[in-house]
């Protein structure tokens, strides 16, 4: 055994041992040093500074530096945002810079019930800024920009009917009026030229959506969708509405918040449940129950609530059945009846409208305007279509079709659109077959409306 070879071993032992040691230390340091600990220490410093009594000071000093999280088993989420954003619920941190800022808008959405990411998106389990805010590869839910935050409301609440989310309601109204449903299905209603939009808000980024509205073929080559000429605020509103369509199925309590009890929701329920079968409003309806125009003057809201719960409890001998309304539904109906006296809520009960008026609603409902223009006036481009490279307008449809012919046309659609130049690509837009969607009474009303479009006093013939 010569000592030389052993000494060589010892040298290597020392070197490799130190190397492993250094790597362990570096690994430990990188694992231990996390920015959220700095934020917490800053927060604790601030708390100590503010303490006015020795007890408060001691309490602040004892605040542990630790991961803080909101466990939301029902939502299958763990939100650790409060590990850095420690003061979101403390108003005294009003003007502070992030991450220590107070967020005043959460009175109705307490953290212990909602957490953060269900609305703001991002990655709740993460504890570093980029990961938590979700701006990293392989995370599908980056934080919703503050500009579009109202999109989050649409996940739980009816979009059309949320006083706290006017942008969302605007986006929804635009969606229903410009005719998106002519090509796209949402909630099962709409055409099939374009893709379904039920989960579009989870799939697409705000930038993508915006670009897609302005110039569809820029982000989706060969898209048949005509560019949409929205003004900037409208564009943001419709993007916001698209972002709200995430297709998230929320459990129990959260799903029950769908309906915000409001007068317009009450109006919808009033129609849906067929109240005018027995009650008269604005001179129309059944005679079995009392007239309701002035019920808001006669009855208190509490009385109405009790009445919806169980009519006999407040009106012994009443023949009105117990409908089993939920608390929210009862409140919505009550709101509606209370407001009815102010005539602020238009009734628009379909059964009482003229066929052509009902037809206008149907024209709107299925998004016909998306291709045929508002009120069927045309003007939507359809490149290479023989009809002046546009989707034909419908003003004079009464001259070209009989009613049965028109019904047949709507039901069967027309897949092949004559091309202006056979050598160029076929026109992207065509008439889908609506037969399985629009039928019976709806079809009759729609045709009545289309025939009513012809300007009065004009004859095309000689």
């Amino acid at each position: 055994m010569n000592d030389g070879s052993l000494r060589k071993f010892y040298g290597w032992f020392t070197f490799l041992g130190l190397l492993v040691g250094v790597l362990v230390v570096v690994g430990y340091y990188r694992d231990e040093h996390r920015p959220w600990k700095d934020y917490q220490r800053k927060f604790i410093q601030e708390e100590i500074r503010r303490a006015s009594t020795p007890e408060q000071k001691m309490l602040a000093q004892r605040t542990p530096v630790e991961i803080r999280q909101v466990l939301l088993p029902e939502l299958n989420r763990v939100d650790r945002c409060t590990t850095c954003h420690l003061a979101v619920e403390d108003p005294s941190y009003g003007g502070f810079a992030q991450p220590l800022a107070y967020n005043p808008l959460h009175d109705r959405h307490p953290f212990d019930k909602f957490g953060c990411t269900i609305c703001h998106r991002g990655q709740g389990r993460a504890t570093t800024t980029e990961d938590a805010h979700g701006h990293v590869a392989h995370w599908d839910e980056p934080m919703l920009p503050q500009k579009y935050i109202q999109a989050a409301c649409g996940q739980c609440h009816e979009a059309s009917d949320n006083p706290a989310a006017p942008e969302l309601a605007r986006g929804n109204q635009l969606f229903e009026t410009v005719g998106c449903r002519g090509c796209h299905k949402l909630g099962g209603v709409g055409g099939n030229l374009g893709p379904e939009l039920d989960k579009v808000g989870a799939r697409r980024s705000p930038d993508w959506l915006k670009q897609h509205f302005v110039e569809p073929s820029a982000v989706t080559p060969n898209s048949g969708m005509p560019p949409q000429k929205f003004a900037e605020p409208d564009l943001d509103a419709i993007v916001l509405f698209m972002l709200s369509q995430t297709g998230t199925n929320l459990p129990g309590f959260y799903a029950s918040m769908k309906v915000i009890p409001s007068a317009s929701e009450g109006r919808r329920l009033f129609q849906l449940k067929g109240c005018i079968g027995c009650h008269t409003v604005a001179g129309q309806g059944g005679k079995i129950g009392p007239v309701l125009d002035d019920v808001g003057l006669r009855r208190k809201p509490e009385w109405m609530m009790a009445h919806f719960r169980d009519p006999q409890s407040v009106t012994p001998g009443s023949v009105m059945p117990r409908f089993g309304f939920t608390e929210a539904e009862s409140r919505a109906l009550t709101e509606f009846l209370v407001h009815l006296r102010d005539q602020q809520v238009a009734l628009n009960i379909p059964a009482l409208m003229a066929p052509a008026d009902r037809g206008r609603e149907i024209f709107r409902k299925y998004g016909c305007a998306g291709c045929h223009g508002p009120e069927g006036k045309g003007g939507i481009p359809n490149p290479n279509a023989k009809t002046a490279q546009q989707v034909p307008g419908l003003s004079f449809v009464a001259d070209s079709y009989t009613k049965p012919e028109l019904k047949k046309m709507i039901s069967n659609g027309r897949r092949e659109i004559d091309a202006l130049d056979p050598k160029r690509p076929a026109p992207p837009l065509y008439m889908p077959a609506w037969g399985s969607t629009i039928k019976d009474a709806e079809l009759d009303d729609l045709v009545a409306y289309l025939f009513s479009l012809k300007p009065k006093g004009e004859e095309l013939g000689f």
Binding site: M1, S5, L6, F9, Y10, W12, F13, L16, G17, L19, V20, L23, V24, V26, G27, Y28, R30, D31, E32, I67, N76, V78, R80, Q123, R125, A126, T127, T128, D131, H138, W139, D140, G194, P195, T220, P221, S223
Partner: protein, 429 residues
């Protein structure tokens, strides 16, 4: 005495009552003690007291088998730590990965170590196999140990493949979907085999449960057992192969009833076959302590350092939560199967069944096909130029196919050049 301080402390400790009771021999100073140290320690007695100088030559073995073994140890250690957290449930597995990254102390480092050690082990087992081939070390009397080695190679792939699914992200889900689809191409048994492996027709909770059980219990136990037999056979077959080796096949055995009764016999004289001493020239031998043991410890430190280095600075991948509706395009198997996947893209039957089947069969039968005993114990022996050339061609083809599958295949398995921007994937509408 001018020994370094750690050594002096060690010497003092081994001479105390407690130290003696634990180490029995203490730090060996004489040759007798060096032998005793090896024989009297449970952990060391697996190895011989003396080894041939040739076996210690790093340029001969490259330490590849030992490196594979150490990686296996690291994998067991980190794997057990990961098991403390992991839940084999499709709903929770992915969240556990996130928690390991964001809230478990050193969780990410442990997962990284496990991941990189696993990839390295596949690589080093392959390299070890190449070394054994190029030095002709699979020839008699080591034929069966080669067969065990092929088994261990397949087990290593199996362990890596089953572990691949466990994070339950897109990468895991689609790699296993593609991998098990390849298994499904086998005639007759393929679909059944795939069904058995997945516990269904698609990758789901049942597949995760099965892969988990295979990954943490079944395969490691079999691998552990086979590693033990593999190592035991290395010693029983006369240590590492070397050029001047003599064959011990012709050693006569004396029938038991003819043994004189007035003499006690060592067990090796009664057993048939080669004894560990056959062909051992005392001049070629050195004591395992310290020559072998020190080298082994140094190599272990080196392997640990490399794995730690990779784990501290590079994170194991984790993609989106597994989504059976959205396959990535292209969906790729783990890298060691990408050569196969590339072959499958030409022909499912030939690439997925015939070629791998033939390859494994030939590998298993190799020592029984190539039976002459020339060129053992030397790298690239001239006498073995035909065998080496055939093997090299296979290795190069495998490497080229793997590189093509890894870097040159884009959407729809179309040809892409990695230095160009990948074509943007558009969705049809």
């Amino acid at each position: 005495m001018n020994a370094p301080l750690p050594k002096r402390i060690w010497l003092w400790f081994t001479k105390t009552r407690v130290g003696r009771s634990i180490f029995r021999v203490g730090l060996p100073e004489s040759n007798l003690e060096r032998s005793q140290a090896m024989v009297s320690s449970f952990l060391l007695h697996v190895q011989p007291a003396k080894v041939n100088r040739h076996a210690l030559r790093a340029s001969y073995s490259l330490g590849l088998g030992l490196i594979s073994l150490y990686l296996f140890f690291i994998l067991i250690g980190t794997g057990v730590l990961l098991m403390f957290y992991y839940v084999p449930s499709t709903a929770q597995a992915y969240d556990v990965m996130k928690d390991l990254q964001f809230v478990v102390s050193a969780g990410m480092v442990v997962r990284n170590m496990h991941r990189w050690a696993a990839h390295l082990m596949v690589l080093f087992v392959m390299l070890h196999m190449c070394r054994v081939f190029y030095t002709g070390a699979y020839k008699a009397p080591r034929e069966f140990n080669w067969v065990l080695g092929v088994g261990l190679f397949l087990l290593t792939l199996g362990l890596s493949f089953t572990g691949y699914l466990l994070p339950w992200d897109q990468l895991a889900f689609w790699a296993i979907t593609v991998g098990t689809n390849i298994a499904g191409y086998a005639p007759f048994v393929g679909p059944k085999l795939k069904f058995l492996l997945l516990g269904g027709n698609i990758v789901g909770q049942d597949a995760l449960t099965r892969f988990y059980a295979l990954h943490v219990i079944v395969l490691p136990m079999i691998a552990g057992l086979m590693v033990s037999i593999h190592l035991w056979r290395v010693r029983k077959d006369g240590g590492l192969s070397r050029p001047d080796e003599q064959l011990g096949d012709e050693i006569a055995t004396i029938p038991l009833n003819q043994l004189p009764t007035n003499k006690s016999y060592g067990l090796m004289e009664l057993a048939r076959g080669t004894t560990p001493q056959v062909g051992h020239n005392p001049e070629d031998e050195v004591f395992s302590w310290p020559h072998l043991i020190f080298r082994e410890i140094l190599l272990f430190l080196l392997v640990t350092a490399v794995v730690l280095f990779l784990a501290v600075f590079w994170n194991a991948p984790l993609e989106e939560f597994a989504n059976p509706i959205h396959p990535p395009n292209p969906a790729k198997a783990p890298w060691y199967f990408l050569g196969l996947q590339e072959l499958v893209s030409y022909s499912a039957f030939w690439g997925g069944v015939v070629v791998p089947g033939l390859l494994v069969t030939v590998l298993v039968m190799l020592p029984y096909i190539d039976r002459n005993r020339v060129g053992v114990g030397r790298w690239f022996a001239r006498e073995r130029v035909v065998a080496n050339t055939i093997f090299s061609v296979c290795v190069v083809v495998a490497i080229v196919l793997t590189i093509i599958g890894t870097s040159f295949r884009g959407p729809n398995w179309g040809w892409v050049e990695p230095w160009q921007n990948p074509p943007t994937i558009t969705e049809g509408h």
